[in-house]
Symmetry: C2
Subunit: 207 residues, 2 copies
């Protein structure tokens, strides 16, 4: 039994490679399961820094990094998504995350986020550059200057910090992560289907 | 099109939590796909030590560790497998890996390996203890003294070292890992199905 109440939180970081295929496929897979997606941008930087890491674990662990590049390319090919390795990696996703936070989660945030991932992982653009972000907003029919100004507001910066703190409270340590309404956590692009099944089973069972 | 030639290598480490559900389910899932399993015990210790790690990354990264314990228990429940968290963690799997290496990969190695995982992750036994390993061998109808003596031979110790070096050459950085006959690598219990699909597709395509 499905209802409009079933939701899943999609926790993503713009520098994260596996968040790219996750962002491109989540809406279709979730819709098929009758589940709505809540887009939750956050920053992995502070979470990694707390472990003493100055960069991505994929840079710190060469064998794991080599596997990841091969595996992400393989996963994207399966989805029919172009994949090009960004240089440098990781890119700085702070500006994109602030803009995503400023946009309403009514479709605009999801559309912008997918555009950022495409720019970063398919089109060899540098997402830390304000002109790149402005062009993505304009292509979406939004007033780029206005959105960028809103993203730079102290209250919006604070909202992103609060979101990252919430991620830590929820036990999130990587991206993408999926969180169901009853707080169950699943880590990784390849666990989306299991997270959706959990959301459905929880919603179907009597309270 | 399937043939008896289709194989998949199952690279596992006895201290590895996710290798437990992998070991318990691999034969049934692979048989359904018409693929034979090659059991490849190796040691993660030297691979972690090369990264400067003195223990499991699940101990070094508390949030990731907390998630793993919850997720492995959840995965085992789904499989109908008992799961109890071993104390201490990680256990030292060197003796078990030497014994597994000494046993022929004709079913005896797989049967012993599953028994070790059950002892460690379901029955609160300490797999570094020779008596525990001897009892598992005896329960399997093998001459424990003879197998333990064979496991302690320099040639067998060297075979396990060579196997761990082969893992590193193959780019393996964690367990379980799956490797197809054409060298494609998949990491994680949850990627077994994808690895088997790869093995089938490769075998089906004309050379």
């Amino acid at each position: 039994m499905q209802s409009a109440e079933e939701t899943i939180e999609f926790w993503y970081e713009f520098a994260s490679t596996y968040s790219y295929p996750a962002a491109m496929r989540v809406e279709a897979v979730a819709a098929e399961a009758g589940v709505s997606v809540l887009w939750r941008p956050f920053l992995l930087g502070p979470i990694f820094a707390a472990l003493g890491w100055s960069t991505s674990p994929f840079n710190l662990q060469p064998a794991k990094g080599a596997y990841m590049w091969h595996d992400v390319a393989r996963s994207c090919e399966k989805l029919g998504q172009t994949f090009r390795r960004p240089e440098p990696f990781p890119q700085n996703g702070l500006l994109a995350a602030r803009v995503a936070t400023a946009l309403p989660d009514d479709g605009a945030r999801a559309q912008f986020s997918r555009a950022v991932y495409r720019a970063e992982f398919a089109e060899e653009q540098t997402i830390s550059e304000p002109e790149v972000i402005a062009a993505l907003l304009a292509a979406q029919g939004l007033d780029a200057d206005s959105v960028l100004a809103q993203a730079a507001e102290p209250a919006n910066k604070q909202a992103l910090r609060a979101q990252t703190e919430a991620a830590q409270r929820h036990g999130i340590f990587g991206a993408p992560s999926w969180r169901t309404a009853d707080g169950e956590l699943f880590w990784g692009n390849d666990r989306l289907e299991e997270a959706l099944a959990w959301a459905q089973a929880t919603a179907a069972s009597p309270a």
